[in-house]
Subunit: 204 residues, 2 copies
DNA sequence: GTCTATACAAGGATAGAC
DNA sequence: GTCTATCCTTGTATAGAC
């Protein structure tokens, strides 16, 4: 493995383990048995290294494509399951989300670009689910509320799990928050939608 | 004002402004025109100082009492409004919540004690709202889902607002998340409950 | 009881030798 | 491409002045 890749992969491992803020450049270098300035050669600052991880996560998430035309409750929720699995792989980033947004210019600038796209996609998914007869939402305002609530869960589920669902394994945590999203949709489900929800939640 | 109080109040001000992690002991001391070791006299470590702020917030929140027997949708939501207003006063703590839980022993130990009480209270509030005819929730499981969803919002609303509702003023942000809680309850509201919700949301 | 001076370890960043 | 030496900042500990 090339030095650069070794740095990236070990950094992710240690950051996930101890938290980005608690793994110093010296500690990372020592574990890799290289010098700090060798890391600096590939990544001028720690922010650059962390930004690289963020780009990797973005790339991983962009591989998850959802067919908005043929969307179902099942594909909608399984899509979130895949995203949540990626979140776990890069959990250090999500656990430091607020700080990174305040401190890491590269990440915060990029985030604002993708943020808008994501809520647009989510909104469009929900509208398609309505048209396809899975959801019954008359008031447009309720779609906005759902978008807002689901976005909040998707962004902070892993932080919440870290402080209050420590006793559950990762699968269990994902199951819990997918269920939460399902149940938030639940009051708006049609009969057809309700059947699918049952199926998905049982199969998680 | 006593030195100790000056330290606490200026620390809160600067932490809220720049973030706890980005205000050093030297910077705080310089602003107060005292020496770092003078702060150390009152607060042995930065963790002690931050813990003091956390205790102050707890005390402020404990002054908000809700009469579980005579609870209504209105008092339930206005209660959250008061809590959210306290959150804004001590927003540095909530924005660094995950880190503090990992790093500050004093805070994390205390949090685990109060955490259980809070979800118990919330659960009991919801059950009383059902009994009082404001909510119609047949499945006990749905109460647990609501507790989980509302707890997540109450814990991370300010972080979410910091990254995605920057354009709104603080009142507007509070209004947004109180509305969110209201709308999550909305599908379960009885006619009596629905009327109250309208009234509260209009009066926010 | 209150405050100060000073020293130390650990963090990130940088210039430059090889 | 790799590494040494060095700098600056941060939090913390301690000895001591008043």
């Amino acid at each position: 493995m090339k030095t650069e890749e070794k740095i990236v992969s070990k950094a992710l491992e240690m950051y996930n383990e101890k938290g980005i803020e608690y793994v110093g450049m010296r500690e990372l270098a020592a574990t890799l048995n290289i010098r700090v300035s060798n890391i600096t050669y590939y990544f001028p600052t720690k922010d650059h290294l962390v930004n690289r991880l963020s780009l990797d996560l973005n790339q991983l998430n962009s591989q998850i494509v959802i067919d908005n035309e043929n969307i179902t409750i099942e594909s909608f929720l399984l899509n979130f399951k895949k995203i949540f699995q990626n979140h776990i792989k890069y959990r250090c980033l999500l656990l430091s989300f607020v700080h990174l947004m305040e401190q890491n210019k590269m990440i915060s600038v990029r985030y604002k670009q993708t943020e808008h796209d994501r809520s647009t996609t989510l909104r469009s998914n929900l509208k398609t689910l309505v048209k396809a007869g899975y959801l019954n939402i008359e008031d447009e305002k309720n779609i906005e509320i759902l978008v807002s609530a689901i976005a909040l869960i998707a962004r902070f589920w892993i932080s919440e799990a870290a402080v209050s669902l420590r006793h559950l394994k990762q699968d269990g945590q994902i199951r819990h928050y997918i269920t939460l999203i399902g149940c938030i949709l639940s009051p708006y489900l049609t009969l057809k939608g309700r059947g699918q929800l049952e199926k998905v939640l049982n199969g998680l």
